[in-house]
Symmetry: C2
Subunit: 353 residues, 2 copies
């Protein structure tokens, strides 16, 4: 029995209970939720200290090594989707942002904004998924916060995670480094996450059979950077998909990009579902894929390193960087034409992550 | 004109525009909002790199120095209240959590969850307030994220901030260290923030004249720890006020606490407003006050150090720690009686921070 339950009475009823405003109040009910749910699931000494923050032993950094901080709010709807849920997504999404800075993630912080009335059973399932994802990644959730808002002022639960890590010595990874001649690689099939969430929203997930690719990519990045330390850019094509992410990099670096349509890995079922749903896989979110941009002479080495890892088996070189003051991204189609890959104003799918 | 506006057309209309779902899409509209609002207001080289995270130069740590991470979601309602708004509150709240670990905050990350339809003018005002608070504190906002949820699925804006800092060499601050005999200090008047927000909700803010005490406390902590490195516990009594925070510390450390009512600093207008609103200032949130618990022989030195700082002028020694296996917190009243300061299940005021 938790300390709060001992001083208060009954333990939380995870079978039939719901989140109440008092669970976000900072009083005894908050303490009980933290102790019986979060501390128990995330289980580590830093969290157990019960301070408003975590004090962490940082290994000595080599010269030039930098600390990396990345933060992301997760508002995906629905909370559970084929292949994952908001819990594991919140872990993977932020670990990946740290990794895309050429860094090894060390710690995670998580902040929950819960809508009053959320079944405790749902919350427990989501927290268990987060805990499992963090454990599998080897990155503990060392501190957190819980707020509760009134019914109709939220949507189930929003989870903001922040990751802290340390860059690989010698790596220098930034969108600004994309340079003409560089090769563009993707680590696997495109659009899986976006289509999985969208097909769930349309109640056709059993028909499409597509599942989210949500996964932590820091192991893949480790394998890549050990083989090719001079990767110029890493980025995970989440919201807005490959198309938006490449346009963003092109704008930041002041370069253009040319893609080969036939080189782009897209699952047959994703292609079919996209056609049915009126989506373009190039603009659909991914949650377990990365884009790597590197000098041409190491592109094949990078490709082999990616393919040798379970999460990079379908990796491909999909295009190259060119000089272009308009910063256009274009696609050489399978029919031999050129198609502009425009930077859309919005996205096809709101609340995809 | 921003890059996104150059490629897209018009700059954002901050006078009449509203936040749309597309602003959270990861496409061109997102980039425009980030560039014209966040990058422009928070203005620093880390944010300008436009990567999904910030790469930061960490000074070499002395042996025993630790990294501190603290995170907090801010959901205060209303967004603007006497003495502050959710923007500066989100900066102060997290800086203070870092400082309460005996650490100097170095960097902040911020993640916005915005409800579709929020006037851009309101968002700009809030962001300007955040930027000003971060600048005044000397702690840059180095990375961030923006999500937009549909109307009725949020409440204006929620802001999650995460702070990273480094502990003072030689300091060892944790709730677990509260020990029998220790003195309990507070840095100033109690309940100001809770009463300011509550009186605004009740539309009686002009009558009470009470303003929030929201402030960054890392300067005050610096002054305190330089004078008294052996402070045992620091904590800011936010949600649930002094009463809840002391109960939490008592539970964590397995001790009891005895307070002197006549020593507790409470503004006359806060006391009056509390009486009218049916609140108890001991349970009302503070956003610019700290609790310090230290050995008795250094308590006076600590008090002087606090009082010498502009944010600690009304500091007082308000009680002491005792052995008590029930972990009770009690108050010796001005009438000579003893009153239990119970650990409430909930709080008097939801969404106070």
């Amino acid at each position: 029995m938790s300390k709060a339950a001992r001083t208060h009475g009954k333990p939380l009823d995870f079978a039939r209970g719901r989140v109440e405003l008092s669970h976000g109040s900072g009083g005894k009910a908050s303490a009980q939720l933290i102790e019986e749910l979060f501390q128990s699931a995330f289980a580590n000494a830093f969290l157990d200290a019960q301070d408003d923050g975590a004090q962490l032993p940082l290994p000595a950094l080599a010269p030039g090594q930098r600390l990396v901080i990345a933060t992301d709010s997760h508002v995906v709807a629905p909370l559970l989707f084929p292949g994952g849920d908001i819990g594991c997504l919140a872990v993977h999404g932020t670990l990946n942002d740290v990794a895309m800075n050429g860094a090894q993630p060390l710690w995670l912080a998580s902040a929950f904004i819960i809508e009053e009335g959320l079944p405790l059973a749902d919350l427990r399932r989501i927290v268990a998924s987060m805990a499992a994802a963090a454990r599998a990644a080897g990155v503990p959730i060392v501190t957190g916060d819980t707020k509760v808002v009134e019914r109709g002022k939220g949507d189930g639960v929003f989870i903001t995670t922040t990751g802290v890590g340390v860059t690989y010595a010698g790596s220098e990874i930034s969108a600004r480094r994309a340079a003409p001649g560089d090769r563009i690689l993707v680590s696997g099939t495109l659009g899986d996450h976006g289509v999985a969430v969208m097909s769930k929203r349309q109640n056709m997930d059993f028909a499409t059979g597509v599942v989210s690719d949500t996964a932590a990519l820091h192991g893949l990045v480790d394998a890549l950077l050990r083989a090719v330390p001079d990767v110029h850019v890493l980025r995970d094509p989440t919201r807005g998909g490959l198309a938006s992410t490449l346009n963003e990099i092109a704008q930041t670096a002041g370069v253009g990009m040319r893609l080969q349509e036939q080189a782009l890995p897209v699952r047959e079922e994703v292609r079919a579902a996209c056609e049915f749903l009126g989506l373009d896989p190039l603009y659909c979110a991914n949650e377990g894929k990365l884009i790597a941009i590197c000098p041409p002479d190491v592109a094949d080495t990078a490709l082999c390193a990616l393919r040798a890892h379970p999460l990079g088996r379908d990796a491909a070189i999909v295009g190259h960087v060119v000089e272009d003051r308009h910063c256009f991204v274009s696609l050489h189609t399978v029919f031999g034409g050129e198609r502009m890959i425009d930077w859309l104003a919005g996205e096809q799918l709101p609340r995809i992550c």
